[in-house]
Amino acid sequence: MRALRPLLLATLLLCAGAALAQAIEPLPFKDHAEEVRYQHLTAQLRCPMCQNETLADSNAPIARDLRNQIFQLMQHGQTDAQIKQYLVDRYSEFVLYDPPVARNTWLLWFGPLLILLVGAAAVIATIRKRSRALTPTTSTATHTALDEGDDW
């Protein structure tokens, strides 16, 4: 039994470490589902101060304040959409990691598709041009067309 004592102590110390880590921001969640919802919501929102971090990850004072505010709003029965709107009203759409599809975000959402279409059009045009140049292989006129194609 005496030999086991250091082991027991070490185990207790490890548990204490885990408890301390939790105690950095102890929020009195009423159940696990609420905690999951809170974690999910704060991970979708951007910290306005350190702009490459989510509210969930950031250690900035404002992120801590906003996390507490989100928790309070959840306690008042607000939905995720209402809480997001609350933050957008104060900190603009900047806080949303997933920006809504609106007129000023069309380029953001559909810009890549536009570039893809332009690229596809260029590829199709080139292929057509080459195949047209290659079909009449016997004629002498194709020689010049082939040479031009080789420039690529």
């Binding site: 306005p48 101060m49 404002i62 304040d65 957008v88 104060r90 603009s92």
Partner: protein, 180 residues
């Protein structure tokens, strides 16, 4: 002609990247445009720093335009802008209202004793709760509120002499001339 296409593509790309450099050197990339511009300032009720039993509210400040300056003793950039504000305060044309943000009142008073107090009114938001309604995320920040309680201009970061001359003074000049 087809030989030129890659070159034109390169020029377009270089132009785009050049535009990105030009665009990003022109403004502070970390400043988030406030959705509160041209909207009524949020309701607030905050104790005064020197008379904590008295409070200031949005209503009590109506009637005259004012510059709400968010500052704190722990904020290094606030020390940078403070001399600029102090020199500008008498000729600004609007009242300078101090908003002490997430600060211990004693620290704030000591800081003002050292650096000087240009504020005609000083409110204290010790918890930072009201500041969320203003969309404050870092000190210093400044809001220009007109006589009707509408936010007309916001600056994030210290007010430098350049910001004062190029942005703040024109914004004050653009305020409606006849306060109710």
């Amino acid at each position: 002609m087809s030989r030129l296409i890659p070159f034109i593509g390169f020029l377009l790309l270089a132009g785009l990247l050049g535009f990105g450099i030009w665009w990003n050197t022109g403004h502070d990339q970390t400043a988030i445009p406030s959705p509160l511009i041209n909207k009524p300032a949020p309701d607030f009720k905050l104790p005064l720093l020197y008379e904590p039993t008295q409070t200031a509210t949005r209503e009590s400040l109506l009637g005259k335009p004012y510059l709400l300056n968010v500052f704190a003793s722990w904020c290094i950039e606030c020390g940078v802008e403070h001399p600029v504000l102090q020199a500008a305060a008498p000729t600004l044309g609007v009242a300078l209202v101090g908003y002490n943000y997430k600060d211990a009142p004693d620290d704030a008073k000591a800081w003002l004793a050292t650096h000087g107090n240009p504020y005609s009114l000083l409110m204290a938001d010790t918890s930072g709760q009201t500041a969320i309604d203003f969309g404050v995320y870092a000190a210093p920040e400044s809001f220009l509120v007109d006589a009707h309680g509408v936010i007309r201009y916001k600056h994030i970061g210290p007010i430098t002499p350049e910001v004062l001359d190029n942005e703040l003074k024109p914004a004050i000049a653009a305020l409606p001339q006849e306060p109710r």
